[in-house]
């Protein structure tokens, strides 16, 4: 008997079932197909303007920084200003996201923009978020050539652009958008929820930033909700 059969058999003995009962199968199938939402906190159900304030407050509450931009055209100047303020070389790495391609990077003459994954040598990276959840100031990023996962974790500084309209109140709204994009039950290789910069509390319970991932997280919100 394989280990698989052994484990499943033992589970079924404990539950007093054989695994072929139609009502149980229906219950399971139904839950997966309908994926009912649980309780959504009131904080996650605010109208757009308030929602944006919750999002900003939450990001700042966990040591992130936020900047609001009128349009994506303002991104290059904002990135340059950020790098200067941190005394960093004028270089960033980004992915192939169509929205990132459309940004007029040339408008900043001294800014050097390269594309691709990170090999650990880049100090700053720019990603475009798929969505966000205001309730905890969480950014949702997807793996793939558009926004390589390594850019989320290897550079010291992570700048994340998010369209204001993509900031949802709750995580569930983002899941539904993801299902629309990829199909029911399908996921990209990695969905990264990012809430603030990397941190550790392992030395005497003090929160220290920049454990293994980015030491700082800067969020650029583009447009109006």
């Amino acid at each position: 008997m394989s280990s698989r059969d052994l484990v499943l058999g033992s589970i079924r003995r404990s539950l007093g079932v054989n695994g072929r009962e139609a009502p149980r199968k229906t219950t399971v199938e139904d839950r997966i197909v309908r994926h009912p939402r649980g309780l959504i906190p009131a904080r996650a159900q605010k109208p757009p303007t308030e929602r944006m304030k919750v999002f900003k407050d939450q990001v700042e509450g966990i040591s992130g920084t936020v900047q609001q931009l009128g349009s994506a055209d303002e991104v290059p100047a904002a990135v340059s200003a950020y790098l200067r303020s941190k005394n960093l070389p004028m270089r960033v790495r980004r992915g192939d996201d169509a929205r990132l391609q459309q940004i007029p990077w040339d408008s900043e003459k001294t800014l050097e923009v390269s594309t691709g994954r990170s090999d650990g040598k880049q100090l700053a990276a720019v990603s475009y978020a798929f969505g966000g959840a205001a309730e905890s100031g969480t950014l949702v990023l997807l793996s793939g050539p558009d926004n390589p996962t390594t850019l989320n974790f290897l550079p010291d500084h992570h700048l994340v652009i998010i369209d204001a309209k993509d900031v949802a109140g709750d995580y569930e709204t983002v899941w539904d958008r993801l299902r629309k994009k990829f199909g029911e039950g399908k996921m990209p290789r990695a969905v990264n929820w990012i809430t603030g910069p990397s941190r550790s509390g392992d030395i005497e319970q003090k929160t220290l930033l920049g454990a293994h991932g980015p030491r700082s997280l800067h969020v650029l919100i583009v447009g109006k909700p």
């Binding site: 280990s3 589970i11 939402r37 100031g137 793939g144 990397s198």
Partner: protein, 480 residues
């Protein structure tokens, strides 16, 4: 083969822990920090208690349909190009990991924190087979340098002070300048970060745990704050996720409800820094990610728990709140418990994995104050489950002889109410007469107590006598 069991020496362990000044300093700090941060996060979310009820119900539902959700999960993992390895025992889990590492000719393995890894003793096993495991969570890295086990499921180095960590770094990182300044915790962090960066890139295989497995999508969910878990699951050629059968939940929505509770109860965070839903290996168009994706699903006795009195324990999401709030854990720390899991959850789980005869002290290491049950995010009745073990110990004659005799004598009286009332009336009367200034500094049969503190002498009559008097009085006055 798995972590050595010292639970049998619990009494000695606790005595040593109580005399260890460094440990006591660290534990006091942890207690204040953990309890305060959780309370702060809970206060900010009015729906928190309702979310706990939902979390309990999700886990109960998943457990009641566990066979079907696991099958569904496996299907999805396979569809996404990953592979599920079923392991009935720790031996099988270790063999599955080794097989993958050998096939890929792995020399080093980076590790995200995994309690299943501790349960199956994966680090020692890999080392014995010539593969170097490198813990990358800062706390786990520190205790690996010390060749210690984690003393807490989410804060493995919580028992150490900054000075101890500095001494370890100086002892092990010998290539760095001896004169470097490591006074500040940030300097220690920066040093570990720089050293581990190289290891991440050099590793052939990454091993992490999983907080949840999602049946709907075949994803493993990993929650970390440092980002080490993500470097571990992104950079190597292959990823191995170590999980156990009860980690599976039906949908992304279900995982989300549990995540709303997890960060708050564990560290007081609204959400951890990184929550990653990983599904299968690198896709053809992906610029990064592991080439292989494996999940080892361990049973190790859990499927039997499902049919018995300990079933509710399988709801546990490993947040550590029960230990943070336990007066016994706060006093002695995690190592005293003598095996992988500590605190109230460990007192219920360790006997399952190592046998009650080896862990008989743990279910007794509780005052039954009930704080663990009060704070448990999935409402596990921990005192009830510890009591279950105490009853098994009594049945199997594992309790010490004086305890069994004492209980036997007490039971003989308790079954005869009149005799009981008579005897307790005499005993209380005698004790209240004999007590010196309302106290006993020494009492036969109770030396374990009076050695450290006075025993209060009873005042007045027994509870039953007072109750009867009160009933008579109320009847007399015509009150209900």
């Amino acid at each position: 083969m798995t972590q050595a069991i010292t639970s049998t020496r619990f009494r000695d362990n606790t005595r040593r822990a109580l005399e260890d000044a460094q440990l006591q300093k660290a534990l006091t700090r942890a207690e204040v920090g953990f309890i305060g941060r959780r309370a702060g996060a809970v206060a900010k979310l009015p729906e928190y208690d309702a979310l706990r009820d939902e979390s309990r119900d999700i886990k109960d539902h998943a457990l009641a349909h566990l066979d079907l959700y696991l099958e569904r999960y496996e299907e999805r993992v396979t569809e996404s190009g990953g592979q599920v390895h079923w392991a009935a025992t720790p031996e099988e889990a270790r063999a599955a990991v080794l097989e993958i590492c050998k096939r890929l000719k792995a020399k080093t393995v980076t590790k995200g924190k995994s309690m299943i890894g501790e349960e199956i003793g994966i680090n020692d096993f890999l080392e014995e087979n010539g593969i170097t495991p490198i813990e990358t969570d800062l706390g786990e890295y520190i205790i690996q340098l010390r060749r210690e086990a984690p003393s807490h499921i989410i804060a493995p180095a919580v028992h150490l002070t900054k000075e101890q960590i500095e001494a370890d770094f100086r002892r092990v990182h010998t290539k760095l300048s001896a004169g470097r300044n490591l006074d500040e915790p940030t300097a220690l962090l920066a040093e570990a970060r720089a050293i581990l960066r190289e290891k991440f890139f050099a590793a052939d295989v990454g091993i992490t745990g999983a907080n949840f497995l999602v049946a709907e999508t075949g994803s493993s969910v990993l929650v970390t704050n440092e980002g080490n878990g993500d470097l571990t699951q992104t950079l190597p050629k292959a990823l191995i996720v170590l999980a156990s059968i009860e980690k599976v939940v039906p949908t992304l929505e279900d995982a989300t409800t549990l995540l709303r509770v997890l960060g708050r109860t564990a560290t007081g965070a609204e959400m951890a820094a990184y929550t990653t839903f990983a599904t299968g290996p690198r896709r053809p168009e992906d610029p990064d990610g592991p080439g292989e994706y494996h999940v080892v699903i361990l049973d190790n006795g859990r499927s039997s728990m499902l049919g018995g009195a300990l079933r509710e324990m399988l709801r546990c999401i490993r947040c550590g709140a029960c230990m943070n709030h336990c007066p016994v854990y706060q006093a002695v720390g995690g190592h005293a418990y003598g095996w992988v899991y500590a605190g109230p959850m460990g007192a219920v789980l360790d006997p399952v994995f190592v046998g009650i005869e080896n862990a008989k002290h743990l279910p007794n290491a509780s005052t039954f104050c009930g704080r663990c049950e009060e704070v448990c995010p999935v409402r596990i009745p921990l005192p009830k489950l510890m009591r279950h073990w105490r009853e098994r110990e009594f049945e199997r004659h594992l309790s010490p002889a004086p305890v069994r005799w004492g209980l036997g004598i007490w039971a003989a009286f308790a079954k005869r109410p009149r005799l009981y009332r008579f005897a307790t009336g005499i005993a209380v009367g005698a004790l209240s007469l004999l007590g010196w200034r309302g106290r006993f500094r020494f009492l036969p049969l109770a030396r374990g107590w009076t050695k450290f503190r006075d025993f209060p002498a009873p005042e007045g009559s027994t509870f039953q006598a007072q109750w009867q008097r009160e009933q008579r009085r109320r009847k007399h006055e015509g009150k209900p």
